[in-house]
């Protein structure tokens, strides 16, 4: 029976579902049919309304078309959505014939997610497959117009999570209200900037840290792993530090979770606006953490100052005409060391930072020497100029006297 229906569905002419629904006044009935007739990944691969909804597309008679005997299911809601989608999408054999590389465990992941668990407990407000992917007019994830294209994921999640009314009643594990500021925070972050301004689609959005179908907050102890999938070096360094044993929230303690801003050296301080402040006290002489912060920050600021000085020395000398491309290269090396020092800070061990800074200082020393040689060359030029000016002065004086002499002669 199913095979017969499928065979009938394959014939494009016999699709009364669309012809009837598109002419409906009620948009809730018409729109799905319209959308499905436009760009839809399922329709383009030969699927039709009945593959999800059942029923009989060959007859224009509503009662016959919507006959449960013909397996008409109506609009799937809640868990029924997941079952409907999973009927194909969890079938590895079937999916292989359409998209061999696509995963088939989404439903399993979903069951492990907060959304899935809530749904199983009877909460119909949570997201299901169609909440993010759409039901009709579904596009591939790689299609730029898809609601789950990387640049659109945040807005799609936010369609519920930023809606205070929708999120009313949900609480965090500690009893506080689930915040709705995530999208606004994320929009301030460097990750958002990387994706939207620099068109870097590999930049993280909601699903990269929370998971797609198994969406849930990473959980205590897991955060450094999550951030570390991209920021591997920092995670490694952090793992060596005392903080990795102390921090509940890992990287998030200092860098935030959604509003991850561009870090600055000003953060490394136990006084004022420094992020060490909540735990460390810069005024307490016995606070070894505060001392470490001062040490590391001092090293870095010292290098920055020396680098700036070297840069202006080289720039000034270059402008006066001395060849400095080797020194510009060395400046680059020193700047690389500065970046490495900032990475090393995540071990929170001043000795390691000092080591990197010491390397950089050696390089800057070399640059300074080259700069001084340039300055010496300029001094040499000035001596040459003084000599020439002396000769010119000689001529000028001589000419002035000669002019006077000739004038007298003329009279």
């Amino acid at each position: 029976m199913l095979l017969l229906l499928l065979a009938l569905a394959a014939a494009p002419e016999a699709n009364n579902c669309v012809t009837c629904h598109t002419t409906q006044q009620d948009q809730r009935l018409a729109r799905p049919a319209v959308l499905f007739s436009e760009t839809d990944v399922h329709r383009e691969r030969g699927f039709a309304c009945i593959d999800c909804h059942g029923g009989d597309p060959t007859t224009p008679d509503k009662a016959k078309a919507h006959d449960p005997a013909r397996l008409f299911k109506g609009k799937p809601v809640g868990q029924a959505v997941v079952t409907t989608c999973a009927r194909c999408h969890s079938d590895a054999g079937l999916m292989r014939t359409y998209a061999p590389r696509q995963r088939v465990d989404q439903a399993t992941e979903y069951a492990a997610s907060v959304h899935g668990k809530q749904l199983a407990a009877g909460d119909q407000r949570v997201a299901t497959c169609v909440s993010c992917h759409g039901a009709h007019g579904v596009r591939l994830v790689s299609d730029a117009k898809s609601p789950v294209f990387p640049t659109s994921v945040a807005t799609t999640c936010a369609s519920c999570h930023a809606d205070a009314k929708h999120m009313e009643g949900y609480k965090l594990a500690d009893g506080s209200t689930l915040p709705t500021s995530q999208l606004a925070d994320y929009r301030k972050s460097v990750h958002f900037a990387a994706m939207t301004r620099n068109n870097d689609l590999s930049a993280p959005t909601c699903n990269d840290c929370h998971g797609n179908h198994g969406a849930a907050p990473p959980g205590v102890g897991a955060i450094a792993n999550v951030c570390g999938t991209c920021h591997a070096v920092f995670a490694q360094k952090f793992e060596l530090s005392v903080h990795s044993q102390i921090f509940d929230k890992g990287c998030v303690e200092c860098h935030g979770n959604h509003a991850v801003l561009k870090p600055s050296d000003e953060m490394l301080s136990a006084t004022g606006h420094g992020i060490c402040v909540p735990c460390h006290n810069g005024d307490d002489k016995n606070d070894s953490g505060a001392k470490a912060a001062v040490g590391m920050r001092g090293d870095i600021e010292g290098l920055k100052t020396r680098l700036d000085q070297a840069r202006s020395l080289i720039a000034g000398v270059k402008n006066s005409g001395i060849e400095v491309s080797d020194d510009e290269l060395a400046l680059r090396e020193a700047a690389t060391k500065l970046t490495l020092a900032r990475t090393e800070v995540h071990t929170f061990e001043p000795a390691r930072v000092t080591e990197v800074i010491a390397d950089a200082t050696k390089i800057v020393g070399g640059i300074d020497q080259a700069g001084q040689r340039g300055v010496a060359e300029l001094k040499y030029r000035r001596r040459g100029l003084a000599l020439s000016l002396g000769a010119i002065l000689l001529v000028v004086v001589g000419l002035a006297l000669k002019v006077r002499q000739i004038d007298q002669q003329h009279r």
Binding site: C230, S388, A391, K402
Partner: protein
Amino acid sequence: MPNTPTDFPFARQGGDQPFDRRSFLDALLAVGFVSTAAAMAYPVARFLVPPPSGEPETATAVAGRAAELKPNSGKIFKFGNKPGIVVRTAEGELRAFSAVCSHLDCTVQFKADTSQLWCACHNGTYDLGGNVVSGPPPRGLEAFVVNIRGEGTDAEIVVSRS
């Protein structure tokens, strides 16, 4: 025919003393003119001689000797005022890229164990096509054109912008 002595504006008139101010002044001026002429001619002459570096290294640079670069190794060289890296693959092919990491401008290096270009700052990795394999770099490395100039052991690797 001109009357030689008096027709000329600089004709000498009188001055038989062994030292007269006039000829001293003339001598002074002569010395002055010659030295200033030399002071002008010397820089011009030096300017005209081409400098050892030949021509502006805008688009090309020499990256070292071909014989010194072994298979599965890389070498940093200077391209203008930025670092470049030339690599000889395990098969012997020469490739060159900008060594400036597209993440935060650190200088990348060649890792022989993985045959990849690696940035020590934040673990960015590029393949030998300059494409990003993993890590934070947002873009690949700019590829350069490599040529060999000369023959035998003195053959040089010449890198130019594509």
